[in-house]
């Protein structure tokens, strides 16, 4: 008995010592550009967040196969957050100093974004919140460290309403109608409400806000309410299993899927594949790209990463909507480093602060996008500046046809008059409450 206890305690002590040592051993190598990946591979968002993480990792491997960022290899280390804010914060704290310092964080969660924003300036690490996070962070003069590249929820909401208006015959035709918003009851979900309410004021339609408490596997009450109130359209701002559950409930209560419009996290294969033909007609706004199985970058990933047995995740997933979003997220992260290297030294390791400059001075032309393999996937140019951390605001709507997606709208652009006014008001109130001074052009 005593010998067993002795052996057990010795083994535990050895394990603890080895953990401490192993973290130190990885250090003595060539400088790498470290991109931490906060994943959601478990929990209620797993079906949707897993392809994103796989796409992100695969593109980083592709960059290495192409020769790295002017010779500097990328390194990805994953940390599981399960979409929980406190785990996300713990992952951030654990990873921010490793492998020479994190270059940029992409939390893939609005809740984690809110929790990390106060820490970025002190740690000097930028954050890309491409398509999520706080919409007013588009104003980089108040939020220097946060980059909602390619879009945020006010753009998404505005474009969805524009598409609805186009299909109904103009904004005036919406007067008197009701638009229900089924949203994830969290900062992520609530972020779309201001733009919908603003448009409701402008054009005279009613908004029916229906929060769904996460994880959202039980939505009978919400959809019963929709059946009673009979809104004309439903906008879905949901994520993870909540989306699929909502669509199933819509099928069960008979709400026409043609009148349902998801934002860009609420309209991908994991949400619709299992429902199949019943979900035909469901629409979602996409941040530029949708499914892209025929694109050049997918061909390169399959050839140079999956063929060599280094693929993260299954081959069948490559080219799916959320996989591509991970690829695009990785591409944006790497392009910022390329840009920073142009100023701070080609072929050298780039610090978080230098990368921030890179993300603020992006100029990704269509030629560069084609060179990287994104022809037909993304439309350039993506140009950021001190006051504009979004870069571009082009979107399209795609519709589920039972087995895949078809594009059902032209390129749509959000009405920046409306949105810029809202962003300025919101960022100014943030600056007032938190004693932040707006950066002038000189300080950018």
């Amino acid at each position: 008995m005593k010998l067993r206890q002795l052996a057990l305690s010795a083994a535990l002590a050895l394990a603890a010592a080895a953990t401490a040592l192993s973290t130190g051993l990885a250090m003595a190598q060539a400088p790498v550009q470290f991109f931490p990946s906060l994943t959601g591979r478990t929990g209620a968002v797993a079906p949707n967040a897993t392809p994103f993480a796989n796409g992100f990792a695969d593109y980083m491997k592709l960059v290495n196969a192409r020769g790295g960022i002017n010779g500097v290899q990328t390194m990805v280390e994953e940390c599981e957050t399960a979409y929980a804010t406190d785990r996300g914060v713990e992952c951030y704290e654990r990873l921010k100093g490793r492998h020479g310092g994190a270059t940029v964080f992409q939390p893939l969660s609005t809740g984690i974004t809110f929790a990390l924003m106060p820490r970025l300036a002190a740690d000097k690490i930028p954050m890309i919140t491409s398509g999520y996070g706080r919409s007013d962070t588009a104003d980089g003069s108040i939020f220097p460290w946060v980059f909602p590249l390619l879009g945020h929820y006010w753009i998404a909401g505005d474009v969805v309403l524009q598409h609805i208006a186009n299909k109904s015959g103009g904004w005036a035709s919406l007067r008197g109608k009701t638009v229900a918003v089924v949203y994830h009851d969290s900062p992520f979900g609530r972020e779309v409400l201001p733009i919908v309410q603003r448009r409701a004021e402008m054009h005279g339609f009613q908004v029916l806000a229906l929060p769904v408490p996460p994880p959202g596997v039980e939505q009978r009450a919400v959809w019963l309410q929709i059946r009673q109130q009979r809104p004309d359209f439903v906008i879905m701002q949901t994520w993870g299993v909540m989306t699929a559950t909502a669509i199933r409930q819509a099928v069960a209560t008979g709400f026409p899927r043609e009148r349902m419009f998801g934002t860009w996290w609420s309209g991908a294969e994991p949400d619709l594949r299992d429902i199949g033909a019943d979900a035909r007609g469901y629409n979602a706004v996409m941040m530029q790209h949708g499914q892209a199985r025929d694109s050049e970058v997918v061909r390169q990933i399959l050839a140079q990463v999956h063929e060599r047995g280094q693929g993260t995740g299954p081959r069948t997933e490559v080219g799916d909507v959320l996989y591509m979003r991970g690829v695009v997220g990785a591409m944006l992260a790497v392009e910022g480093v390329f840009r920073a290297q142009e100023r701070f030294g080609r072929g050298r390791h780039v610090s978080g602060e230098q990368a921030r400059w890179g993300y603020e001075n992006l100029n990704i032309t269509q030629a560069r996008l084609d060179e990287l393999g994104f022809a037909g996937v993304l439309r350039g140019p993506i140009v950021t500046s001190c006051r504009n951390h979004v870069g571009t605001a082009l979107t399209r709507i795609h519709t589920w046809n039972g087995t895949g997606f078809d594009w059902s709208s032209d390129w749509l652009q959000a009405d920046m008059n409306v949105i810029t006014r809202m962003i300025t008001a919101s960022s100014e109130s943030f600056a007032r409450d938190n004693n932040v001074t707006r950066r002038t052009e000189a300080g950018c």
Binding site: S22, E78, C79, T85, E93, A115, S186, P187
Partner: protein, 358 residues
């Protein structure tokens, strides 16, 4: 051999009634507090402060509050997360709406609001017991979940429904770095642990324990159940409210109502059960277990897998964490239902006999 009290004679009642009458205990506790204030800042790095020590201390403080109610007074409460939320949101409102209010006053105001909420939701305890009281306190949890999401006044009409604080400081000391936060929280925890220990040693604590052990008999010998139960709810909610305010202000900085949901209540209950019901030191053991085990598993599992030649994916680590954590809880409860504090008291007992066990 070292832990004997031969030769230590107490000559005054005050000396006899102190918390640690044995000199070795006193020295050990003073050494521990000195190490916590001086030694840990010298040895720990930023990650340790931010991700392990500060959450550990705040959860231990909350567990002290829950232990007062569940462990000492025997009233099962599943609403601790809600009382943490009340403390956090009311401290936030006092902090931003009252000009130039000191940070400590705002935190204590949060605690006082939580105390009032605790008394209000503790009234069912006068009529129901056990599992039914647990369900009644669950109502508190859901009510406050709803309140802080739907009533925008609490979050100062923020569009996203989150609350955020910055520029914390007291008496010219600005609390920015992880070390500052750790020291600030440590001060609170030391003071509150000392207060709680004295409360449970005193007449009110004995009333609580009498109610816990057999409330009918306690009423027969003259202990007023209403007074005892409601003071237990009041003191417990005060401590939990202050812990909630600390959690929001110091650990999170910017929070949403989901930070204090039902999972937080369960977590506090698990800390108290695993640490040991009816023990102040048990709160610290339980909090250490709950905070450190998932992180340790997360870091050790890939390394263990690499030893065996198996590459464990991130998802697998996440799943294994949950499975192993759950299995450990079950194992602890089977092996030692009185919690980790019991292991500690057995260790102390053996130390008193060492090196001559019998």
């Amino acid at each position: 051999m070292f832990y004997r009290e031969n030769g230590q004679f107490q000559t005054t009642y005050q000396a006899d009634q102190q918390i640690f009458p044995v000199r070795q205990d006193r020295l050990a506790i003073l050494a521990l507090i000195a190490f916590a204030f001086v030694g840990v800042p010298l040895l720990a790095d930023e990650y340790l402060f931010r991700a392990i020590l500060v959450p550990f201390l705040i959860l231990a403080l909350a567990a002290i509050g829950v232990n007062v109610l569940v462990g000492y007074c025997g009233q099962i409460s599943l609403g601790s997360g809600a009382f943490m939320a009340v403390g956090a949101y009311m401290a936030y409102n006092v902090f931003i709406r009252v000009a130039d209010v000191p940070l400590i006053v705002a935190l204590l105001a949060g605690g006082l609001s939580a105390m009032l909420a605790g008394i209000a939701f503790g009234i069912p305890s006068l009529r129901v017991k056990g599992l039914y009281l647990a369900v009644a306190t669950l109502a508190a949890q859901f009510f406050f979940d709803w309140l802080f999401v739907r009533v925008p006044w609490f979050t100062n009409y923020s569009p996203a429904g989150t609350a955020e604080v910055s520029n914390l400081g007291m008496l010219g000391w600005s609390i920015d770095t992880p070390l500052d936060k750790y020291l600030f929280v440590l001060g609170f925890v030391v003071v509150f642990a000392w207060l709680a220990k004295n409360l449970v040693r005193g007449p009110i604590g004995r009333e609580w324990m009498a109610i816990r052990d057999m409330d009918v008999a306690a009423a027969v010998i003259g202990i007023r159940p209403m007074y005892a139960k409601l003071t237990a709810f009041a003191i417990s909610s005060f401590i939990v409210g202050v812990a909630g305010a600390l959690w929001a202000f110091i650990h999170l900085g910017s929070w949403e109502p989901l930070a204090f949901d039902i999972n937080r209540s369960f977590q506090l209950l698990f800390i108290v059960i695993i640490g040991g019901l009816g023990s102040i030191t048990g709160c610290f053991f339980g909090a250490a277990f709950i905070v450190i085990t998932p992180i340790a598993l997360n870091q050790m599992l890939p390394w263990l897998g690499s030893l065996a030649g198996v590459r464990i994916s991130t998802a697998m680590v996440g799943h294994a964490e949950l499975m192993i954590f759950g299995a450990l809880i079950v194992w602890f409860l089977i092996k030692e239902p009185h919690g980790l504090a019991r292991y500690w008291s057995i260790t102390r007992h053996k130390l008193r006999l060492w090196p001559f066990p019998h």
